[in-house]
């Protein structure tokens, strides 16, 4: 389809398009200040240009990505393009190199495809915001970096994207920076991510010191020269980076706070794309990870614990976005369980379907918040537009949004034949399969056999599936069913999403319905089976075999596993309907405080408070009191410097017996130097 030179051009054009959008819209955002205007919203004409640029670059990038994907569907396994040397010193050298293969193109399709929908949605969602141009500039910037992340042919180029998406995330979480809390949330996200980046940096240092290259292709080719402890160390450091970016225990703490950003941002960055970068990194380096079973078991364990942890917290959240945030952390945990177990196809499958249904849920929540906000504004109320206790019965006012969100809810709960059912089942079956028989089951994590770790993870994953169905049904019942709790006057003002918002919702709803056909299991041949597995086989096939072996489950076992998954989902939904009593809810302001376990869960096990009191507070206090006031100002400045200054003054006053001044000590210093000089010469002469 492309000649090699035009393919190269297309490769660079794809990330450059959104970067260009960033520059144009970034300049637009400075126009009001440059002209001295102080406006509350962006004029319609300027808004039109900004939207055209912001959405236009996305749609173009999506079109080019589709063309690339078609190219890669044929015989080409990868398209490379090297622009030149980026950094070099001594034996170290890194190129400006992109490499698109079937894995990266899959990510690119999600980024530009779902990204385009969210950009379109944002045109409506952000229309009244004074920072309209700045918003689109940041959003384009994010996409540019995200594309670099998945297209980079070596770790440092990936790292540009990796930290770049963190920057965009920082800017967008703190988008409404007039409220300090939002800015604090943005900062927290960046700093916590940096803890992860520390791990990624160290992984790079060890890799370079031992194999002399940071190219993915070279790493895959040469990893055999590394000793097992070294590979394990590299993989664990890399996983630390993934845990930061993809919000896993214990570095997940930034993601719930990240909900401070505009809701489409939460959909794009904090659900569909950026937070999956950790999964991508591990799949990209599957060959390396498959040589480190210990690291893989650690990943399985952390993923499973995170999935359960976040799901329990999700049970007690009342902010509609917070429920979705913890849900995202939990679903990412599933993906890590999968990559840890070497089920790379299942992980990528769930990554894609999750991007569909979670983006749908977030955008739906955005429509709800948008509707609530307008209604509260119109009635001059200052209640919380995101708290589910202030909602109820929204199905009557927002039937389209409600229906679409129910589709997504059933999908994430795992009800067939929705996308989430297939991808979650793929993960659960894969873990069970590997727990029964695989090289990974034969390895061990310290004294614990791999088999035990895998069964434990499977058990946690099943419990999590049950909890997922509960908290999602809870979200739907609290907001869309029962009676509206904020008063009839407000309810009358709530309207369903306008078409600019509803269009993307419908598209994502359709993807949620049919997404499962990407990777149908052999036991459910309702179409062509195993498409995604075949697509990714050149990249992850051998690594999968290394960890999972070649054995296959008996069909009866597979049916049993599917049965368990569906039964658990149905049970969860039923439990939520039986146990929850939306009728007893009162609005946020009138609601009684949580107590007992509810209080603990609502506050996420008090992790934030513990970090603040146990780590941040003491560090700042010690830095201020001991290092700065004590050592710097007290000892060094107070005693040593002032002491020697005093000494100089005394000496100079004796010498001059006249004015005590600084010039005096200067002369003295020169004189001392001269004495020393003469002294040395004399000594030399004496020999």
């Amino acid at each position: 389809m492309f000649s090699s030179s035009s393919a190269s051009l297309v490769l660079w054009l794809i990330p450059l398009l959104p970067f260009a959008g960033f520059v144009v819209n970034g300049l637009f955002s400075l126009v009001p200040s440059w002209r001295g205007e102080r406006v509350a919203s962006t004029p319609a004409g300027r808004r039109g240009i900004v939207s055209l640029v912001g959405v236009g670059v996305m749609v173009l990038a999506f079109a080019l990505t589709i063309a690339l994907a078609m190219q890669l569907g044929g015989d080409d396994t990868a398209i490379d393009s090297t622009l030149g040397v980026w950094m070099h010193a001594g034996s170290f050298s890194v190129d400006w190199a992109l490499r698109v293969d079937r894995l990266s193109v899959l990510m690119m399709l999600v980024i530009t495809g779902v990204g385009s929908l969210i950009h379109i949605y944002s045109v409506g969602y952000m229309a009244d915001d004074a920072g309209f141009a700045r918003y689109f500039a940041y959003l384009n910037l994010f996409v540019g970096f995200m594309l670099m992340l998945v297209m980079g042919a070596n770790l440092p180029v990936l790292f540009i994207g990796w930290e770049g998406v963190g920057l965009a995330s920082y800017l967008l979480i703190g988008f409404w920076f007039g409220d300090t809390a939002n800015a604090v949330a943005g900062k927290k996200a960046f700093v916590v991510n940096r803890i992860g980046d520390f791990g990624l940096l160290l992984a790079m240092f060890i890799l370079f010191a031992n194999i002399g290259s940071l190219d993915f292709a070279e790493i895959a080719r040469q990893h055999a020269v590394l000793s097992t402890p070294l590979v394990t160390a590299i993989c664990l450091f890399m996983f630390l980076g993934c845990a930061g970016k993809s919000a896993q225990l214990p570095l997940y703490v930034w993601l719930p706070d990240a909900m401070a950003g505009p809701t489409p941002v939460s959909a794009l960055i904090h659900a569909a794309t950026m937070v999956t970068a950790g999964i991508y990194l591990i799949v990209r380096n599957a060959t390396l990870f498959s040589a480190a079973p210990v690291a893989c078991l650690v990943i399985v364990l952390v993923g499973a614990l995170t999935a359960l942890w976040a799901a329990t917290v999700g049970l007690k959240q009342l902010d509609i976005k917070k429920v979705l945030a913890y849900s995202t952390i939990s679903q990412l945990g599933y993906m890590f369980v999968a990559v840890g177990a070497g089920a790379y196809t299942a992980a990528m499958f769930h990554l894609v379907t999750h991007a569909f249904f979670k983006a749908l849920l977030f955008l739906g929540a955005g429509a709800v918040i948008h509707g609530m906000h307008h209604a509260l504004h119109a009635t001059h109320r200052h209640d919380d537009a995101q708290d589910m206790r202030n909602m109820g019965g929204l199905m009557r006012r927002m039937p389209a949004t409600g229906t679409l969100m129910w589709i997504a809810t059933l999908a994430i709960a795992g009800i067939p034949p929705l996308a989430g059912f297939f991808s979650k089942d793929a993960i659960l079956s894969a873990i069970a399969e590997r727990a029964m028989e695989s090289p990974l089951a034969e390895s061990s994590l310290g004294p614990v056999p791999g088999r035990v770790v895998l069964w434990f993870a499977y058990a946690l994953a099943v419990v999590t599936a049950f909890l997922t169905a509960i908290y999602m049904t809870r979200l739907m019942r609290y907001s869309f069913h029962g009676t509206f709790r904020s008063g009839a006057d407000v309810e009358a003002e709530v309207h369903d999403a306008p078409w600019m918002l509803r269009g993307p919702l419908v598209a994502l709803g359709a993807l949620t319905l049919i997404g499962g056909w990407l990777q149908l299991p052999e036991v459910l041949p309702v179409g062509r089976t195993g498409l995604l597995e075949t697509w990714l086989a050149p990249i992850t096939g051998s690594a999968t075999t290394l960890l999972a072996g070649t054995g296959h489950l008996a069909h009866n076992t597979e049916y049993l596993l599917i049965g368990i998954a569906v039964a658990v989902a149905v049970a969860g939904i039923a439990t939520a309907f039986v146990l929850l009593k939306p009728a007893s809810l009162t609005t946020k302001d009138a609601a009684p405080a949580e107590t007992g376990i509810g209080l603990v869960l609502a506050n996420d096990y008090f992790v934030d408070a513990a970090i603040e009191r146990g780590v941040v507070g003491p560090t700042v206090a010690a830095s201020r009191k001991v290092l700065w006031r004590g050592l710097d100002l007290g000892l060094i400045n107070g005693v040593l410097v002032q002491g020697s200054a005093q000494l100089f003054r005394v000496i100079s006053s004796i010498a001059s017996r006249a004015q005590v001044g600084f010039a005096g000590s200067y002369v003295w210093a020169i004189a001392l130097g001269a004495v020393a000089l003469i002294g040395v010469f004399t000594m030399r002469g004496g020999q």
Partner: protein, 518 residues
């Protein structure tokens, strides 16, 4: 380009002394300007200064272009025959980036500080700036120890007066502290210079380096001299625990003094003088471990103290102390990768730290009380200023795609094989940098302006223009550092080879050196 320049008469032969002499002579000329009360003399002095610095800056670019990669050009004039001292200038791969950086940084700093900011004794102010520029350029241009030492002192005096006279209320005290520290270091260095000169029988770099290779000094003598040099250089660079003068000097002095202090003459001297002259002492495992540990302590200590500073200028000062730690780690590892990284970090210190101080100077013209407790919400009134602060902060924190990343990454990856544990600790500095910088950014830019604060004006055209040059440098060096790294390649490689070769030839006993000296 270079042949074209050469064809129209640009040659290192006159460029090297010219770049040094122009600001020096200009300084005297400006000093002699009539000092009538009023505005006109300041205007004239400023115009002349900007004119001279512009020419100097352009000449440094010409020098960069006419000196091919990998070659060293020098010019030589007789000076003091008794000491074997000569006025010798050279341009090497390591000095050229610093020369270009210095000339442009000083020019942009003068332009950025507007005329109205200098209200008293303007003529002296501009004369001192030219003298300072000559001093710093001289340090990088010199190829003779005595000349180097002279320029070293030449830099000291104008800085002292700039901080003391044109600084804030506490400027004089800060100037005094600065003077005591650096004078102490200079004296130590002077003694070492004399020892080396007498052992080598001359002071040109060629003479003393030949001595270091062919007839190395005894281990004891090397250890003493290395210590003296290193002390002078590291005090000047504000390495922990000799660092407290820097935040005072940078935040109490005028912005241009803060910028000049960001030019890392100290670590330059360490790299091109202390290591090649005393290789056995410098590469001794104990020295290495001490220096690298000091560097890592610097990174962590500087970062933690930066966290709790009351204003942004002091945050940036402590950040630069932390960055110096990276440079010292890179130098003590002494690999090609780590040294090239160290030079890039030094260049960045000028660009990012310097640019930040100019930016904060622009803020201070608008809001005199710039402690965090009195700030907040500035991003709304000053979006352009805000965007620049965020960019500079991130460059400072080593965001990939900016200059900051290239330097730190090369230092760390190049030092890892020598000091894996220390590099791991130093990498924690990357986390802390994000914390202290973004916290500072948040307290300055985000939230709401304090009640009753007037609307602050965003940057004007001139200010934005000056900062645009810094932005270009930050992004340019971040995305395409190759031209500078190419320039460093051969010089750094030969430095590494020479020092390693000399270090493995065992130093003679003390008596052998004394025989040689006789």
């Amino acid at each position: 380009m270079n042949t074209m320049l050469a064809a129209i008469g640009f040659a290192p032969g006159w460029l090297l002394p010219g770049i040094f002499a122009l600001p020096l002579v200009g300084s005297i000329a400006v000093w002699l300007l009539p000092r009538a009360a009023g505005d006109t003399d300041a205007r004239l002095a400023r115009t002349i200064t900007i004119g001279l610095l512009s020419v100097t800056a352009i000449l440094t670019l010409a020098l960069w272009l006419v000196v091919p990669n990998g070659s060293t050009e020098q010019v030589d004039y007789p000076w003091i025959d008794e000491f074997g001292a000569r006025i010798r200038f050279a341009a090497t791969g390591i000095s050229l980036p610093m020369i270009v950086l210095t000339a442009w940084l000083m020019l942009l700093s003068v332009i950025a500080t507007d005329r109205a900011a200098i209200t008293h004794r303007a003529v002296s102010y501009y004369a001192l700036i030219l003298l300072l520029t000559a001093g710093i350029l001289g340090i990088f241009l010199a190829a003779d120890l005595l000349l180097f030492y002279l320029c070293w002192e030449l830099m000291l005096v104008p800085l002292y007066f700039l901080i003391g006279v044109w600084g804030s209320g506490r400027g004089p005290a800060a100037g005094t502290t600065f003077f005591i520290y650096t004078m102490l270091g200079s004296l130590l260095m002077l003694v070492a210079v004399i020892v080396v000169a007498s052992a080598a029988g001359g002071t040109t770099y060629d003479t003393v380096r030949t001595m270091a290779t062919n007839q190395p000094m005894s281990m004891t003598a090397q250890a003493f001299c290395f210590f003296a040099f290193a002390a002078a250089f590291l005090v000047k660079s504000a390495l922990i625990p000799f660092h407290t003068w820097l935040p005072d000097a940078q935040s109490e002095g005028p912005p241009i003094a803060a910028v000049a202090l960001g030019i890392k003459v100290g670590t330059y001297g360490l790299m091109v003088l202390a290591y090649p002259l005393f290789p056995s002492a410098a590469l001794h495992p104990v020295t290495r471990m001490i220096l690298a540990s000091l560097g890592v302590v610097g990174v962590l200590y500087g970062s933690l103290v930066a966290l709790v500073q009351p204003d942004f200028r002091r945050v940036i000062s402590y950040a630069s102390i932390a960055h110096l730690g990276f440079v010292v780690v890179g130098i003590s590892a002494f690999t090609a990768e780590s040294l090239q990284g160290a030079v890039i970090v030094m260049v960045n210190a000028g660009i990012t730290t310097g640019g930040m101080f100019l930016l904060l100077g622009m803020l201070r013209k608008r809001i005199s009380d710039d402690r965090f407790q009195s700030l907040g919400g500035l991003a709304k009134d000053m979006p352009m200023f805000g965007a620049l602060v965020v960019l500079f902060a991130l460059a400072n924190a080593g965001l990939p795609g900016t200059n900051g990343f290239v330097g730190e990454f090369l230092v760390l990856i190049g030092s890892f094989t020598h000091f894996p544990v220390l590099v791991l600790l130093a990498t924690i500095g990357v986390i802390l940098a994000a914390a202290y910088l973004l916290w500072a950014v948040q307290r300055m830019l985000f939230g709401q302006r304090p009640d009753g604060a007037p609307v602050a004006r965003d940057l004007n055209g001139l200010e934005a223009g000056v900062m645009a040059a810094f932005v270009l440098a930050i992004i340019g060096l971040g995305l395409a550092p190759a031209p500078v790294l190419d320039r460093l390649d051969d010089s750094v490689a030969s430095l590494v080879t020479r020092v390693n070769m000399s270090a493995i030839t065992a130093p003679p006993t003390a008596s052998a050196v004394e025989d040689a000296a006789r």
